[in-house]
C-alpha cells in the first residue's frame, strides 16, 4: 500500500503572492483581500482526508472460460464500496496478464461511489495458450480535494486467470479412439483372414485348420491380419511467413497452426496412436533440444517412456514451439522479417521433391544465404531429413495457414510417397466482425488460401479448414477422422 499527499501549497502561495504584491503596488484593497481565496483553496486541500472506512470488494469474471486460444475473452472487473460512507474518487486498474493484449474496452475505471455502489471495468483480451493469471487489481482512493491518496492492491474474487483451452479431448467417441480401439482388438489376435503357413510347434491349437487336416493330413496354421493403429506424423508450419495476424492482439496464423497441431497430437496420443510431431521453419536457436541436423524440430514417439512422461515431453515441446513462434505477430500483408522460406526446404512443384542443392543457390533471391541457411543444413538435406524421418506407412497431417505454395508442394511430395495426407489450415484472415477482416490484405489472403485448398484436393490430399471464430474441436475431430478412417 502506498500513501501519498499532494500539496497545493506552491500554486496557492504563488497566486496569493501575486495578489498581495500587486495589491500593495497599486494599493488595491480588492486584490489584497482576494489573496484569501487561494489561501482557502490551499487550506481545503490540506484538511481534506480519506474516509476512515474504505472497505472495498473486487470481483472479476471471465467469459468464456476456458477459452480456446485466439478467441476474444470478455473480462468484467467490479469494485464495490462496502464501506459505510461515500468514496469520492475510486480508481481501479486490473492486472492484465502479461502477454494478453486488450483489444477493446479498458481495464481501468474510476467512480465516485456511495455506500453499496460499484464501478465496473469491462474489456476484451485475446486468449493465449495455457493459463494466463491476472495480477491483483490496483485500487487508488482519493479524498474530495484529491490531495490525499492511497493506492493498494486488492485480491479479487471470481476468475483469477484466462485458461487457454489445451486440455485433451474427453469425448471417448472420437474418431481416433475408435480407430485405436479397432486397431487394438485386431492386434490382440486379428479377425480378418490373411494367409496360411505350415504348422510350427507352439502354434495355438485353435489356429490349426482342422478341415484341411481331415482332408489332406497336412497341419496348416491359419494366420489373421494383425492390424495396428495407424502411425501419424503431425507437421506444424512455423515459418516466418505465417507469423502474421489479422488484427493486433490476435495470435499469428503460425501460432494458431501450432495450437491446432497440438490438439490433434494430443487426441491421437490419448487414443493410443503413435504420433510424431515436427515443426519446420524455426528460427536458428529455437527448440535447440529438439532440432535435428536438418533444422527441423522433432517430437518422436517414445514407446518406452511411461504415459505421464510422454505427456510432459509433448507439453514441453509445444510450449517451446509456441514460444519460438512468439507473440509479436505482424499485420497481415506486412513483409515477414527475413526470408519467408528461411528454415524450410524448397520443393519442386512439378516433381514434388527437393531440387538439387545447387538449384536453390542459382535462384537470384537466394543468392545471399540467410543466417539460418548458413548455419543449418542445406535445403535439400532439410527436405530429405523431413521426408526421411516420416515413417513409410505413416499418415501425415500438416498444420499450416496456407499463406504460400510451400505447404501445397509439401503435400504433393507426401502424396507422391504414398502418405495419406491431411492439411489442416486455420482461417487466420477470417471474419473478426470488424474492419480488419475486410482489409485488402485479408481478402487477398483468403482468396489465395481457397485456391490452395482446391489445389490440395486435386493432388489427393484432404484439406480441413478451421474458422478460428468457431470451435477448434470441429477441425480437430475432422482432421483426426480423415487420418484414422480406414
Amino acid at each position: 500500500m502506498t500513501r501519498r499527499r499532494r500539496t497545493r501549497r506552491d500554486g496557492g502561495l504563488l497566486v496569493a503572492a501575486v495578489l498581495v504584491g500587486t495589491g500593495l503596488l497599486y494599493a488595491d484593497a480588492a486584490l489584497l483581500s482576494a489573496a484569501v481565496i487561494p489561501l482557502v483553496y490551499v487550506l481545503y486541500g490540506a484538511v481534506s482526508r480519506l474516509p476512515a472506512d474504505t472497505e472495498l470488494s473486487v470481483e472479476r469474471s471471465v467469459d468464456p472460460s476456458p477459452s480456446p486460444p485466439g478467441t476474444a475473452v470478455d473480462v468484467t472487473l467490479t469494485v464495490r464500496n462496502d464501506a459505510g460512507g461515500a468514496l469520492p474518487d475510486v480508481r481501479v486498474r486490473d492486472g492484465v496478464p502479461d502477454g494478453l493484449e486488450v483489444v477493446s474496452g479498458s481495464p481501468r475505471a474510476c467512480g465516485s461511489l456511495r455506500a453499496g455502489e460499484a464501478v465496473t471495468a469491462r474489456y476484451t483480451v485475446v486468449a493465449g495458450r495455457g493459463t494466463s493469471r491476472f495480477d491483483d487489481p490496483a485500487v487508488s482512493l482519493r479524498s474530495f480535494a484529491g490531495t490525499a491518496e492511497r493506492t493498494t492492491t486488492v485480491t479479487s474474487a471470481g476468475d483469477a486467470a484466462v485458461y487457454g483451452s489445451n486440455a485433451p479431448p474427453k469425448d471417448a467417441s472420437s474418431a481416433a479412439a475408435r480407430a485405436s480401439a479397432d486397431g487394438a482388438s485386431a492386434s490382440a489376435g486379428g479377425s480378418e483372414f490373411y494367409a496360411t503357413r505350415e504348422y510350427r510347434p507352439g502354434d495355438p491349437m485353435s489356429r490349426i485348420d482342422w478341415t484341411r487336416v481331415a482332408k489332406t493330413g497336412e497341419y496348416v496354421t491359419v494366420q489373421y491380419r494383425e492390424e495396428r493403429p495407424p502411425e501419424v506424423a503431425v507437421i506444424t508450419d512455423a515459418r516466418p511467413i505465417g507469423r502474421a495476424s489479422v488484427a493486433p492482439g490476435y495470435p499469428s496464423a503460425a501460432a494458431l497452426s501450432a495450437h491446432l497441431g497440438e490438439r490433434i497430437y494430443r487426441e491421437l496420443a490419448a487414443s493410443g496412436i503413435d504420433a510424431t510431431a515436427a515443426a519446420v521453419g524455426l528460427d536458428p536457436g529455437s527448440l535447440d533440444a529438439w532440432v535435428d541436423a536438418a533444422g527441423i524440430a522433432w517430437l518422436e514417439v517414445d514407446t518406452a517412456a511411461p504415459g505421464r512422461r510422454r505427456d510432459d515431453r509433448s507439453e514441453r515441446f509445444f510450449a517451446e514451439l509456441d514460444g519460438a513462434i512468439g507473440r509479436d505477430a505482424q499485420p497481415l500483408g506486412a513483409a515477414p522479417e527475413g526470408d519467408p522460406t528461411a528454415g524450410v526446404p524448397p520443393i519442386d512443384p512439378r516433381t514434388g521433391s527437393a531440387p538439387p542443392a545447387n538449384a536453390s543457390a542459382d535462384r537470384p533471391d537466394r543468392s545471399a544465404p540467410t543466417e539460418s541457411e548458413a548455419t543449418a543444413a542445406s535445403p535439400t538435406s532439410r527436405l530429405d531429413g523431413l521426408l526421411a524421418r516420416i515413417p513409410a506407412e505413416a499418415r501425415v497431417v500438416v498444420c499450416t495457414p496456407l499463406f504460400d505454395e510451400w505447404p501445397v508442394s509439401l503435400a504433393r511430395a507426401l502424396r507422391a510417397r504414398g502418405h495419406r495426407t491431411v492439411v489442416a489450415a486455420p482461417e487466420a484472415a477470417g471474419s473478426r466482425g470488424d474492419d480488419s477482416a475486410d482489409s485488402p490484405d485479408a481478402r487477398v489472403a483468403r482468396i489465395g488460401r481457397l485456391a490452395r485448398i482446391e489445389e490440395l484436393e486435386r493432388s489427393g490430399a484432404r484439406a480441413v479448414s478451421w474458422d478460428v471464430d468457431r470451435s477448434i474441436d470441429r477441425a480437430r475431430r475432422r482432421s483426426v477422422s480423415l487420418l484414422t478412417e480406414r
Partner: protein, 405 residues
C-alpha cells in the same frame, strides 16, 4: 502501479467542459472592463483560437502536404489577429490615456495602459488555454513543427521585402518593370537555394519545406495585391488613435517610408513579421505548461489582476481569482485522471464531485475575501482599508505555513 504516460489528445470531456464553462464567462466579464479595447480583444482571442486550430491541423493524420499548405496559409491571418489583439489594445489604451495635462499624469497614464493591455493579453491567454484544453495539450514536438512551418512560410515574404528594400536604397528612382524582374529573379534564386538547404536539413523530420515556402509565396501575392489600399488604411487607423502631435509625426514618417521603400516592400516585411510572430508564440509556449487549463488559469489571473488595477469591481476580482483556481484545479485533475484511467473510462462523475468540492472551496474563499474587504474597510482600519486586508492576509499566510509544516 498506475501508469503515468501522457497521451496526446484532448483532456477529459468533462474537464474541458469545466474549463470552458469557467473561462468563457469570465473572459466576457473582463472584456466589459475594457470597452475601448473590445475589438482588439475579440480579434486577439480569435487569433488565439485560430492558432490552436492550426496546431490541431498539424496533429491530425491528414496528408503532410495539405497540412503544411493550410498551416502556412493560416499563419499570416493568425499572426495578424494576434498582433492586432496585442498592439491594437496598446494603441487604444494609449489613445485613451494620453495626452495628459500634467507630468504626474504620465505615470498614472502608463499604469492605465499597462492594466488595459494586461487585461486584453490575459483574456487572449485564457482563450488560448481554453482552446487547448478543449482540443488537446500542445506537446513540445507539435509546437516545434508549427514553428518550423511558420518560419518556412515567412521566408518568401522576408526575402522579397529585403530585396525590394535593398533595391529602393540602391536605386531611389526605380523603373517598375525592370525592378520587379530583378527582384523576382533574386528572390527565386534565394528561395531555391534556401529550399534545397532546408530540404536536406528537414527531410529527417518529414517536413517538406517547398510546401510552406509556397504557402508563404501565396500569402505574399495576396498581401502585395492589397497593399496599395490596405497599408495606407492601416497607417491611418494607427495614427488616428495616437494622441495629437505624436499621431501627426508618426503619420508623416509612415507616409515617407511608404514613399521611399514602396508599399510592396513594407507589406512583405510586415507579413514576414506577422508570420514569424506566430513562430515566436509557438516557441514561447514550448517552455510553458503543456496543459491548456494551466494557461487558461494564468490568463485569467493576469486579466483579473490587470482589470482590477484599472477599476474593475471587487466582485469581479474575487470571481476572477476564484475562477482561475477552479480552472487550474479542474484541468490538473482531469489531466491526472486521464493519465491514470485512460480515455475509455467514464470520468464524468468523479470529475463532477471533485469540481463541486473545488467550487465550494473557492466560493467560500471568495466570500471570505469579501468579508475581509468589508471588515478592512469598516472595522479595523477605516482610513486605510488596504492595511486591514493586508493584515488579514499576513495572518492567513502565517497560519498556512504553520499548517503545511
Amino acid at each position: 502501479m498506475m501508469s503515468r504516460e501522457r497521451p496526446d489528445g484532448p483532456e477529459t470531456p468533462t474537464g474541458a467542459a469545466l474549463v470552458l464553462a469557467a473561462t468563457a464567462p469570465l473572459v466576457a466579464l473582463l472584456a466589459r472592463q475594457v470597452p475601448g479595447e473590445s475589438v482588439a480583444l475579440s480579434i486577439g482571442c480569435l487569433g488565439a483560437i485560430g492558432f490552436v486550430a492550426t496546431l490541431r491541423v498539424i496533429a491530425s493524420d491528414a496528408a503532410p502536404r495539405p497540412v503544411a499548405l493550410s498551416v502556412g496559409l493560416a499563419a499570416a491571418p493568425v499572426g495578424i489577429a494576434l498582433a492586432v489583439g496585442a498592439f491594437g489594445a496598446a494603441l487604444s489604451a494609449i489613445a485613451a490615456a494620453f495626452p495628459v495635462e500634467t507630468p504626474a499624469g504620465w505615470s498614472s497614464g502608463a499604469l492605465t495602459v499597462l492594466g488595459r493591455v494586461g487585461t486584453v493579453l490575459g483574456c487572449m491567454l485564457a482563450a488560448l488555454g481554453a482552446a487547448l484544453a478543449a482540443s488537446g495539450p500542445a506537446s513540445s514536438a507539435l509546437l516545434g513543427r508549427y514553428a518550423r512551418l511558420a518560419v518556412l512560410s515567412s521566408l518568401v515574404p522576408a526575402l522579397t521585402g529585403a530585396v525590394l528594400l535593398a533595391r529602393a536604397i540602391v536605386s531611389p528612382r526605380p523603373t517598375p518593370g525592370i525592378e520587379w524582374a530583378f527582384g523576382l529573379a533574386v528572390v527565386g534564386i534565394a528561395v531555391a537555394g534556401v529550399a534545397v538547404v532546408l530540404q536536406r536539413a528537414a527531410r529527417a523530420g518529414g517536413v517538406r519545406p517547398s510546401v510552406p515556402v509556397l504557402a508563404g509565396g501565396i500569402s505574399l501575392a495576396v498581401a502585395v495585391g492589397v497593399s496599395d489600399r490596405a497599408l495606407p488604411r492601416a497607417i491611418r487607423a494607427v495614427t488616428d488613435r495616437l494622441p495629437g502631435a505624436l499621431g501627426a509625426d508618426v503619420s508623416a514618417a509612415a507616409t515617407g517610408l511608404v514613399g521611399v521603400y514602396g508599399a510592396d516592400a513594407l507589406s512583405a516585411l510586415l507579413l514576414a513579421g506577422f508570420v514569424s510572430a506566430t513562430a515566436l508564440v509557438a516557441a514561447a509556449l514550448r517552455g510553458g505548461p503543456p496543459d491548456g487549463s494551466a494557461l487558461a488559469a494564468a490568463g485569467l489571473l493576469l486579466g483579473t489582476v490587470a482589470a482590477s488595477t484599472v477599476g474593475a469591481p471587487a466582485a469581479l476580482t474575487f470571481a476572477g481569482v476564484a475562477g482561475c483556481l477552479f480552472v487550474w484545479e479542474a484541468g490538473a485533475f482531469a489531466a491526472g485522471l486521464r493519465d491514470e484511467v485512460g480515455r475509455l473510462a467514464s470520468t464524468r462523475r468523479v470529475e463532477a464531485v471533485h469540481a463541486g468540492g473545488t467550487a465550494v472551496a473557492v466560493v467560500l474563499g471568495a466570500l471570505g475575501a469579501w468579508g475581509v474587504a468589508r471588515l478592512g474597510a469598516r472595522g479595523l482600519a477605516p482610513d486605510e482599508p488596504a492595511f486591514g486586508a493586508l493584515a488579514f492576509v499576513g495572518v492567513g499566510i502565517a497560519l498556512l505555513i504553520l499548517a503545511a509544516r
